[in-house]
């Protein structure tokens, strides 16, 4: 698909021809949707499906130009790729060289990308630079707005990192993932990544060298796992606070954590969550201006890890004091027999005041709150399983 292809839906709706106030970008197991909101965030117009039948792991709009949209895509039967649009999804063009590992030397077994999982636009001073995280775990960079991608050999082919990353048998059910690629807004060379599993890592030189940041993080108890080994650490989601880039929050396999640099020791702040709910989950959202305000979506991580809402009662939990106390925020959500949950990329916020919060469920519902979680309502139902939700301000 190396030519301009007009989306059937866009032809019908004319989507992308007019700037909207806010757009929610929804990536699902069977395609992608753009939900255009009005200024009050009360009515939403669906534009989609784009790529019906493709698994879209992430759909991200470049905040630096406000128009370049990248979609990480694959189908069950074809190899992975990245699609690119510069007109808000009206037309799409495939990357000329999607993320792919270096070809192995003769006689050695090389890795191949199963899917691109995570997309991050780089620093504001580096227009057209993007990072991508894949499964199996790899880090990739594009310098031309997502048209061509090159691997970071420093991490992808380093024998120690390879050991920490494990194999396709390790990690999450649909493959271990490199995710949560964070660029420090004060320094384009300062990067963080999360590896599931494999820990948290930081680079101060644009990815030439890396160091681990796992001090203070717990590992699964009862198996004698060495807490000092990155391979036993499973960060689910890392978020840097826009209001204070020295503060990073983490939702982890074992709990919720906070890191205040220059310290290199994570502090578990999830222990103050109600015992019945626990602090296991996948997504985490930070307030765009207040570094003490965070929201999580806990899930049932007991026994066989059902990965459902605890007791069938979904709720967002929020803190306004950096994790000292948490408040249950479920007004408007179903009260009983509700077993969906929210994946690590499927919860996000907008930059408005009050902040809008959004999440997409494993059962294909898109929910939002216009008042920082006090009241929730559903924007869409009956979509495919939602993998990622992002928002972007337009116009």
């Amino acid at each position: 698909m190396n030519r301009k292809v007009k989306s059937k839906t866009a032809q019908k709706t004319g989507a992308g021809s007019r700037a909207r106030r806010l757009v929610a970008l929804v990536a699902t197991r069977k395609g992608a949707w753009l939900f255009h909101g009005d200024g009050a965030r009360k009515t939403w117009r669906a534009d989609g499906p784009h790529f019906l039948g493709h698994t879209i792991s992430h759909l991200v709009l470049d905040p630096r130009d406000g128009r370049t949209l990248l979609a990480a895509a694959k189908t069950g039967h074809l190899g992975p790729t990245v699609f690119r649009s510069t007109d808000l999804g009206r037309t799409w063009k495939e990357a000329a060289r999607p993320p792919a590992f270096t070809k192995a030397a003769e006689g050695e077994k090389g890795r191949s990308v199963d899917h691109t999982f995570w997309l991050t636009p780089a620093h504001a001073n580096e227009p057209n630079v993007w990072y991508a995280g894949t499964s199996p775990q790899g880090l990739f960079r594009s310098g031309d707005g997502g048209v061509t991608w090159a691997p970071f050999s420093t991490i992808n082919d380093d024998p120690i990192y390879r050991e920490w990353m494990g194999t396709v048998q390790d990690g999450t059910p649909d493959g271990p993932k490199l995710h949560s690629i964070i660029v420090d807004p004060r320094d384009p060379r300062h990067l963080y990544v999360g590896m599931s599993g494999g820990g948290v890592h930081e680079s101060l030189d644009g990815g030439k060298t890396w160091r681990t940041l796992i001090k203070g993080m717990d590992v699964v108890e009862g198996f004698g796992f060495d807490v000092s080994k990155p391979t036993f650490h499973d960060p689910h989601c890392l978020r840097m606070c826009p209001g204070n880039p020295d503060r990073i929050y983490q939702q982890n396999h074992c709990g919720i954590y906070r890191l205040d640099r220059p310290s290199d020791t994570w502090v578990r702040i999830g222990k103050t969550m109600p015992k019945k709910v626990g602090d296991i989950g996948f997504p985490l959202v930070v307030h765009p201006r207040d570094a003490d305000a965070v929201w999580v979506f806990p899930m049932d991580g007991t026994q066989v890890w059902p990965r459902t809402s605890p007791e069938g009662r979904p709720a967002v939990y929020g803190t306004r004091n950096g994790g000292k106390t948490w408040q249950r925020l479920d007004a408007g959500m179903p009260r009983t027999q509700t077993w969906w949950t929210v994946k690590r990329q499927a919860m996000t916020g907008d930059a408005q005041d009050p902040v809008g919060l959004y999440f997409g469920t494993t059962s294909g519902e898109l929910w939002m709150s216009r008042d920082e979680g006090r009241r929730w309502s559903s924007i869409a139902r009956h979509l495919p399983e939602i993998y990622a939700v992002e928002t972007a301000q337009l116009g």
Binding site: N2, G79, A104, S112
Partner: protein, 85 residues
């Protein structure tokens, strides 16, 4: 030679049947990618392995080796092995 394209890849070719040339299967796929950029990587990974759900038949016989010699009169059929839901 004649190459039959599965429906999942017709977004590249816009047809079910096309022509490509090459003395081997590998060379034929390079020629196919030259005509329809991006199509090869959806079928063949970066380690030159045929992807899990792709099957390639030459004159009715399944071929697993990209070094397989081809003649101009051969017919190549590319199939997606559907699975899952």
């Amino acid at each position: 030679m004649k190459v039959l394209i599965p429906s999942a890849l017709r977004s590249y070719t816009e047809r079910a049947e096309t022509e490509a040339s090459g003395a081997t299967l590998a060379a034929m796929l390079v020629d196919l990618d030259r005509q329809y950029p991006g199509i090869r990587f959806r079928m063949i990974d970066e380690q030159d392995r045929i992807r899990r759900h792709i099957r390639i038949f030459v004159n009715g016989d399944q071929v697993r080796d990209l070094a397989q010699p081809l003649a101009a009169t051969d017919e190549v059929i590319i199939v997606q092995a559907l699975s899952g839901g």
